[in-house]
Symmetry: C2
Subunit: 572 residues, 2 copies
């Protein structure tokens, strides 16, 4: 399973030894005068309180589930206590766990989930669905303290149940993690084509429940565009939509389930649009004289009948970060650097922006698209860095979250925030957010980094994905974090940009849901909640705001001084 | 405005005088031994009962609306009493009107609608939103007989409010009819690209409320794929979503409003994805040796990276109908016939299937796509009939509904039913429905026609659109109609096909909503209704079934013998 103190597998850590420029560059950018080490506590220092037991519920389910399908083992409870947000990791690294689930259950089939939801509804037990556990908005953290909380780890429901080649359809269990799902489909010549940054450790059900976007969403759509039918177990019964290509039978009930983050029920089975696995791939790096020039090129590409599968344009600051991640003499940055120096000399580029463009398909399609896009990039001042840059990027593309652990070891705050906005606002928003964040770093007296990349495009606009970091404020780390979180989110919401493009709502984005959906839009969501989950047992505290939820959440985590360690608080 | 007794403008009737083969072919196919004429009653024979008046509501709105914004004129009430379904027209042609609205209001701005909905909610008045009035599933027919019913004719809210060229976005008022909306957009170089069969007389708000599909949905998506944001006035306030390209902030509230058929509120404003109007168009006819061969060609096209804007493949029976609609010596069928005779001779095609393929874009794109598709059609036995067939088709494409009036004048039942299914089921479904309907015609002793065309395609499947007709059963016309309606709908639903692909639910499809959405899926819809419209004033009786709604509806219309004329029943 995963690390309890950080991202991904315990077998993997971010390698800094082969990137001699990276830490000096980070330390310089954040002006860390002296690095304060802040390693996680030892596992043994974390003690969870004994679990709350609802005996009637346990009796009702224990007859039908095998004994290896549930556990209240402390390691398992700890791993299911939180997701992978910065405050999640900050707290657990200090040994502070607000609330652990009282039981972890591993359903093996749809009927197991039906049993659990039915009995939970009957006996007043709260349920939290759990896929890969990579949620960074508080979406899997148990919060209910007066009732038993059961986390449903969906990992054993991971099969591709059927594949209809002629119709490009696969029925897949919701617990399948990215690699297993792609491997099974690709063994039959197909691909789902959904590759979020968390791909290696996140699940199909999680993608659907959070309206995830993958790196190739430009070609295949966000996850909601790939869903054809779903099964979701709610306290009012199983919603099961039909595998039909299109319908006009009322509001699309799939879209009630997609993005529901467990608050309406547990997604068990997804009928997904798949496609034949593309035989040829061409990933390459293109260097633009500026982020603005790169954007102009991408906008023209989006407006034309065809567009690459993947486009990722880093702004000047993220490009600088990329350059400093170089492994000397080899691979990605070695090559960039040599080319880059030539360009700098010849053309006077001073603050370039790097783009990765990926094209997939049959040989003829890739060849034609390469030629079309080559002309387009060139027209906007793009310089082709070749496929080795693309290959290195593809190889490293899932590794960046591991860097966060390294940086957090050194007492730095680091977070990401993504949004989307219409084309006419992309550059304006980028400027407002970048300048706003820099001003805030300055006003707080802690120099910081803010960089951005465009990660997904649409005919109407694009996703901007910001990364920011600065040194932690000792003793006020959570207040500092929530200050920045609120600040950047309000920059988005007040400047015509989405509350979130693909990280979902959880607890972190609840305070803006009324602004995002309008009061009556939120009433629609609340009506669904009340109608389908009248007892409020489904992932309580997520997605749907209570009054002034943000304030509540900050108070709950208690800031730094106030919040005691887990062993003193969780449970009852 | 429109005909009260039939389709479209009173200035236009289907021309039969220049199509000498058509009526003899219809009469022969339906084996009409003697044509019974059944012309509509004279307008003067229809008398509506006096309207129900809710004085408190009238007082509340009359101060803020201009006097020319409402009417209880009998002609207007009559025109807003029904849509354009076969039973709608059958009844009104006999002068039977079940229920007319008590008042027709013409809102001119969003705030007018807010006022009306608020006061209707306060005073217990029912509301029916009305766009072009072309609904064929009972969606605009008032049904509540104990309360005042107000129909909101949205025609005056028809402006393009803004256009963001860079972002391909237009904000358009919901009452805009197709021609006005396209004219306004095209004046600025843009197009929405939504062309349903009812285009000339239906509205944007109606399209969104019914999840409409246009002829070019293969290129631009169904209407739900073009919606970026909406404003909808509900009794719980105005839901207003934001114009952002993509989001993961919970379930997509746009999809609560899309397809809501007025039962949750009144859509007033739509932010739509538009595109630059394509400069070059190539529409042509292709003749395939059979429907199956044409399907194989289309499937291969759908699987490739690019696909035409429009594909419409008629099966062998609809192709025969098309051939018999010929205007001798000129245009569409004249040309087809000459080519067709050559082919028949040379290749022994006996029961061909005609396809219309439309490609739009800039010259280079159209040229390339023409060449790509030409090879593809040929590979599957397609014979290119050239662009004159396409041009004639494009010219006549909105005229077919007028033929229904002509046929109904001659005591024939004629109806359409559309569905969608996955590719692996398309041919099977086509066979089951065609054979099933023929067997039913035979068992009832009235020879009938059933034909089909594939009208929209997806990566996962396609829409099949059936047309069927036979002589009316004298004195039992409505029982006959509902017998066929139930029969063909159950063929769809029980054989893996959608309840409806783009005609929506209204009253006609309510009986199958539980089967379509599952019981818990329907509970989700009911939860939205209860939450947003707690008094049930919004288009009551539509979309959401009561128990055994179908039976109820048949009983309500009363069959033939039972139902008295309008003047004796409507109102109270």
């Amino acid at each position: 399973m995963m690390k309890w103190w950080g991202w991904g597998s315990p077998d993997y850590e971010f390698r800094m030894d082969n990137k001699p420029h990276l830490w000096p560059w980070i330390a310089g950018t954040l002006r860390l005068e002296k690095v304060r080490m802040a390693k996680p506590v030892r596992r043994e220092e974390i003690r969870l309180p004994p679990p709350i037991k609802n005996e009637a519920f346990l009796r009702a389910v224990s007859g039908s589930l095998k004994s290896e399908q549930w556990t209240s083992d402390e390691d398992q409870r700890l791993l299911h206590s939180y997701g992978k947000s910065y405050p999640d990791l900050f707290l657990v690294r200090q040994g502070r766990v607000r609330r652990a689930p009282d039981l972890v259950v591993y359903p093996e089939r749809h009927s197991d989930v039906e049993l659990i939801v039915r009995e939970a509804h009957r006996h007043g037990v709260c349920l939290v669905p759990f896929g890969g556990g990579t949620n960074i908005v508080g979406g899997v953290n148990p919060s209910e303290t007066s009732k038993m909380v059961v986390t449903l780890n969906m990992a054993r429901m991971n099969r591709v149940l059927s594949l209809d080649h002629e119709s490009n359809l696969a029925v897949i269990e919701a617990g399948a993690l990215g690699p297993k799902l792609e491997k099974d489909l690709q063994a039959k010549g197909y691909s789902l084509g959904h590759f979020p940054d968390s791909f290696e450790v996140s699940s199909l059900g999680g993608w659907v429940a959070t309206r995830s976007a993958g790196m190739q969403s430009d070609a295949y759509g966000k996850i909601e565009h790939m869903v054809v039918a779903l099964k979701m177990v709610t306290p009012s019964g199983t919603i099961s939509t039909r595998a039909i290509p299109a319908s006009s039978a009322g509001p699309d009930i799939n879209h009630v389930m997609i993005g529901s983050e467990g608050v309406l029920g547990v997604i068990t089975e997804c009928t997904m649009r798949v496609h034949p696995a593309p035989p040829v791939k061409d990933y390459r790096g293109i260097l633009f004289p500026s982020f603005a020039k790169g954007l102009a090129a991408i906008h023209e590409s989006v407006m034309s009948p065809e567009h690459p599968n993947l486009i990722r344009l880093q702004d000047e600051w993220e490009t600088e970060l990329a350059f400093n991640m170089k492994v000397p003499k080899t691979g990605f940055v070695g090559f960039i650097e040599r080319q880059f120096k030539k360009i700098l000399k010849a053309r006077g580029y001073s603050r370039p922006a790097i783009m990765i463009a990926g094209i997939e398909g049959d040989a003829a399609h890739v060849k034609r698209m390469r030629s079309l896009t080559a002309k387009l990039w060139k027209k906007h001042g793009g310089f082709d860095l070749g496929t080795s840059v693309g290959a290195t990027w593809a190889q490293d593309k899932y590794n960046l979250p591991y860097l966060r652990d390294y940086v957090m070891d050194r007492s730095c705050m680091v977070d990401v925030a993504e949004t989307s906005t219409v084309w006419s606002n992309v550059l304006t928003l980028h400027k407002k957010v970048t300048e706003g964040m820099k001003a805030r770093f300055a006003s707080e007296g802690r120099p910081g980094f803010v960089g951005c990349h465009l990660s997904h495009t649409y005919k109407t606009g694009a996703c901007l994905y910001f990364t920011y970091a600065c040194e932690q404020e000792p003793g006020r780390e959570l207040e500092q974090y929530y200050g920045f979180k609120r600040f950047i989110t309000e920059l988005f919401v007040k400047n015509g940009a989405a509350l979130t493009h693909h990280h979902a709502v959880g607890t972190e984005h609840r305070p803006w849901m009324k602004e995002e959906l309008s009061e009556a839009g939120l009433a629609a969501l609340q009506a669904l909640k009340t109608g389908l989950d009248p007892q409020g047992i489904c992932n309580p505290g997520k997605l749907i705001p209570e009054s002034d939820a943000f304030k509540g959440w900050v108070q709950e985590v208690g800031g730094n001084g106030a919040a005691p360690r887990a062993k003193e608080t969780a449970g009852k």
